[in-house]
């Protein structure tokens, strides 16, 4: 196709419409990171479908130049799954908030892990329900009280990394919204990964979350100003399963990832926690002889002969 030759610039991934996020919102960083990842991989904008849930985060597709599906609260993963299976030739990215993904969408977050469909899921983890004015999201620790909350959070915060591993995701990572370069690399790796890539992004919400702020993540509140965040890769952490056939290694790497995920507070790891190459859902369908190379959306399914089915009724 003509598109092959064409070289895309970052601006080719930008929709010409202004965002309505608050000034300083971490979402800007995630948006930029997605655009740069697509640019890095030179995926033609029209070959990309970005799906989202509902929330401040849910508005992301509108700001990207790519097929954009701003769906329902908590339903982005099933929608993205149907879209991808209908046209496995597309690059599919799903985005949503932490309330969207771990609260109302938790059941889909877990069960999507059982399929390993080849898409990338980016969760904007700001610990609050942004668009509904700052209630506690499932990631906010128990006892925490943001300025938007009348009282301290009575529910515990959950650990997305552990859940993702337990659910079966084959690529599990965490990024930081304000480290666009690092995040764009993570997203690029996630897109490149064949299978379901899950990226939890620590996202600042200057409007409602005054606990885990930019300053806090960067450790500006500390005397020595040392950032709380550190990069797993720089700490020599190896998340990749070398031999997916070896259950021992798989378990070991999963446990290492889970162990890492418990680090929080003074030192917070970002980067890839776990990665393993396993057949995708599409591969499994191909194996069964159900899915072919041509995406269903491009196949001609309209000249079927059903006489055999009818004759079987006699």
């Amino acid at each position: 196709m003509a598109t092959k030759l064409k070289v895309y610039e970052v601006k080719d991934y930008r929709a010409d419409i202004d965002s309505d996020w608050c000034p300083g919102c971490g979402d800007f960083g995630i948006l930029a990171a997605i655009q740069q990842a697509l640019y890095k991989l030179q995926i033609p904008p029209h070959r990309v479908a970005v799906c989202s849930g509902i929330g401040c985060s849910g508005k992301t597709p509108h700001y990207l130049r790519a097929y954009g599906f701003h769906t329902l609260h908590g339903r982005v993963l099933p929608f993205a799954a149907g879209l991808k299976l209908a046209n496995h030739g597309l690059t599919v990215i799903a985005v949503g908030g932490d309330g969207d993904g771990y609260g109302i969408g938790a059941g889909y977050f877990i069960n999507a892990g059982r399929r390993n469909i080849d898409f990338t899921y980016i969760v904007f983890n700001n610990e609050v329900y942004g668009l509904t004015k700052g209630q506690a999201a499932p990631t906010l620790p128990q006892g925490a009280k943001t300025k938007s909350m009348p009282e301290a959070n009575i529910q515990q915060g959950l650990n997305p990394i552990v859940l993702a591993i337990g659910a079966g995701y084959t690529f599990v990572a965490r990024g930081f919204a304000l480290d666009v370069k690092h995040l764009s690399e993570l997203i690029a790796r996630g897109i490149a990964h064949r299978g379901s890539a899950f990226i939890d992004v620590l996202q600042t919400c200057p409007t409602y979350n005054d606990i885990h702020t930019k300053e806090w993540y960067l450790g500006l509140d500390r005397p020595e100003k040392r950032p709380r965040l550190y990069k797993l890769e720089e700490a020599g952490f190896d998340p990749v399963v070398a031999n997916p056939e070896d259950p021992e290694e798989v378990r070991a790497k999963q446990l290492a990832a889970i162990t890492k995920s418990y680090e929080w507070g003074e030192r917070i790891p970002i980067g890839v926690f776990y990665q393993v190459k396993l057949p995708t859902f599409e591969d499994r369908l191909r194996e069964k002889g159900i899915l072919g190379e041509i995406p269903l959306a491009e196949a001609d399914l309209f000249r079927r002969d059903v006489t055999e089915l009818i004759e079987a009724l006699r």
């Binding site: 029209h46 597709p61 509108h62 769906t71 929608f79 149907g82 059941g107």
Partner: protein, 618 residues
């Protein structure tokens, strides 16, 4: 002689999991092969093993669409089938013995000391166990008597066939078919058991049963199809070019999904078992937006969970999905394996707010095929979700039919597509305002066709906007498509009229009650009543004007529905102002038997009001 008098109703009953369904379906197949027409349907509990179930096979020389209540041959595998579960604090049924016509036959296990409490029956006590033992002995398999327990079905079946005078050879042929592949080794024992039972009748009982198959004309030369609604729907979907189906297991929709799963490879489409119906509908919406013909299939409880996704599909003008709603007994979990027509009202407004979608309700196999197929054309042409409203009765009842009518189907119509000039979507508006409200679409992957979409109110590009002027136009745009659909959808897909135009009574119904209505009307007309039938098919957009004209000209209207409130009646009044004062209803979880409906209609002809037409079937 009317159909109820002429037809023969063979009924087998026993505990769930005991294999009566195999016996009944084998017999039905054998009968069809032999040139008879049959209607065959099972009644069973939401239970895996042990509870009472029974299977009716109505034998005729013309296609029937409803069960008979009266029983000519009752075949029982246990005592409950005969006398019910009257020992319970709240008995569920009184058994079937009382349904047997005078002179009717009762085939039962000789071990049961049966006191029928009436002397007008022909009793055929059969030593199931002994006969099985004999067969096993001949094959030296006595040790496995427990495993071969199920062969008692064949014994009972064969004995009843002998009573009816049905050829043993034809029966054996059908039995044999059931033992292909790894089950083949058991064929011999089953065939032998059949012979022994057949002989047992011939040798121990006089050949004087009054209801003979010979009373029916056969047409062995032209073998019809023996088909259920789930099969018809699935075949029509495949024919329509189904690309993606998602579902979550639920009775009575599961069978359709299982059928489709088995055809994925051959026809190249994908069926996904989702984690729930919310996931199922959203997967289907995603697939539809991606450009394939997508569907999902469920029943009431699952459909309620799809509500949100249907509103979403309509708001984003997705070209589908088509949602197959196989109604069952409600509300809530209700009666999972039973019949009811109580989801019409909900299907018409399945979520909050105002949005456009289509609802069509087929009443027989041919219509199931037509509607299931056309639903995809309509979904893509009007870019909205389409609900095909069916029910448990239509899903499960086997009927004989000459064909599925695939030949007569219109060509595939995928609706309007936008053809990009350049590589930029600068002048492409996915939700462009048009005359018809329909905006040419593109599918993801198309260069120059990029669009955005959102469940929030949006502008022609698909970006969020809350402007009043755009809002007024967008709502009108989406709703306008219903007027276009109303203009374009063919009349026979809206409603059908059966019988004389100048009838004294006009019966109005929808869905699978069509079968009982047509069967009962045939009988009533034979008895000299001037009645006709208006079958409503398209529920949304509702053919209000056409129907209003028709109904206001009718002399007397009688509403027939399998629900408590008379939902179609309410819809008709809402749309035409005509309120129907004679109603024949039932909500006992069972489809109308021909007798129940006939009796109900006769009562309704005498006086206005609501007639509950239930004979409390088991």
């Amino acid at each position: 002689m009317t159909s109820t008098e002429r037809d023969i109703n063979w009924v087998i009953g026993g505990p769930q999991g005991s294999g009566i369904n195999v016996a009944a379906e084998t017999f039905a197949k054998a009968l069809v092969r032999a040139g008879y027409r049959v209607y065959a349907a099972i009644e069973y509990h939401s239970n895996i093993m042990g509870k009472h179930s029974y299977y009716r096979v109505r034998i005729s020389d013309a296609d029937r669409r409803s069960p008979l209540g009266r029983v000519h041959v009752l075949v029982s595998l246990d005592e409950e089938t005969l006398l019910g579960d009257t020992h319970h604090e709240f008995p569920a049924h009184r058994g079937h013995l009382h349904e047997v016509v005078p002179g009717g036959a009762v085939v039962f296990d000789a071990r049961i000391g049966l006191n029928p409490g009436r002397d007008d029956l022909k009793l055929y006590p059969i030593p199931y166990a002994e006969l099985l033992e004999l067969a096993l002995m001949e094959f030296g398999r006595q040790a496995e008597r427990h495993r071969f327990r199920v062969v008692q079905n064949v014994i009972a079946l064969s004995a009843s066939a002998a009573v009816l005078g049905f050829e043993l050879s034809a029966l054996k042929e059908a039995i044999l078919e059931g033992f292909k592949g790894r089950r083949a080794e058991a064929a011999g024992i089953n065939l032998r058991a059949a012979e022994l039972a057949y002989e047992y009748i011939k040798t121990h009982f006089a050949d004087d049963f009054g209801y003979r198959l010979s009373g029916l004309n056969r047409r062995p030369e032209r073998r019809p199809l023996l088909v259920r609604g789930v099969q018809a729907a699935a075949i029509a979907k495949i024919k329509a070019g189904l690309g993606f189906q998602s579902y979550y297991p639920i009775s009575p929709a599961t069978d359709e999904n299982v059928y489709l799963e088995a055809q994925q490879r051959k026809y190249g489409f994908v069926v996904v078992q989702a984690e729930d119906e919310v996931a199922a509908i959203n997967m289907a919406v995603g697939a539809a937006h991606a450009g394939v013909r997508a569907a999902t299939s469920t029943s009431g409880p699952g459909f309620t969970l799809m509500a949100e996704g249907i509103g979403f599909a309509s708001m984003t003008e997705a070209p589908g999905p088509v949602v197959f709603l196989w109604q069952r007994g409600g509300p809530s979990t209700g009666l999972p394996t039973r019949q009811e027509q109580a989801d019409l009202r909900f299907a018409l407004q399945p979520a909050h707010g105002e949005f456009s979608h289509l609802v069509v309700a087929p009443g027989d196999i041919e219509e199931v095929v037509f509607d299931s197929y056309m639903a995809f054309n309509w979904a893509e042409r009007y870019q909205l979700p389409v609900i095909v409203l069916l029910d448990r009765h239509l899903a499960g009842a086997y009927v004989t039919a000459e064909s599925l009518g695939l030949e007569a189907l219109p060509p595939v119509d995928r609706g309007l597509f936008y053809q990009p000039e350049g590589t930029s979507e600068g002048d492409y508006f996915r939700y462009a305002f048009t005359e018809t409200g329909i905006s040419p679409r593109t599918v993801p992957g198309t260069e120059g066709g990029i669009f955005w979409t959102t469940s929030d109110e949006h502008d022609p590009r698909g970006h969020i906007t809350e402007g009043a002027e755009n809002r007024l136009k967008m709502v009108a745009k989406r709703m306008k498509k219903l007027d276009v659909a109303a203009r374009e959808i063919p009349p026979q897909a809206k409603f059908k009229v059966y019988g004389p135009a100048d009838a004294d009574f006009t019966v109005i119904g929808w869905g699978s009650t069509k079968g009982a209505i047509l069967d009962a009307l045939e009988e009533l007309r034979a008895e000299g009543h001037k009645v006709n039938f208006v079958q409503v098919r398209l529920m949304r957009p509702f053919p209000a004007e056409e129907l209003k004209g028709l109904l206001s000209r009718a002399k007397n209207l009688i509403l027939v529905e399998e629900n408590y409130t008379g939902q179609l009646g309410a819809l008709i009044c809402e749309q035409t102002g005509i309120s129907i004062t004679r109603r024949v209803l039932k909500w006992d979880g069972r489809p109308f038997t021909q007798e129940e409906l006939k009796e109900g209609l006769l009562k309704a002809m005498v006086a206005e009001g609501t007639v509950l037409a239930s004979h409390l079937q088991g």
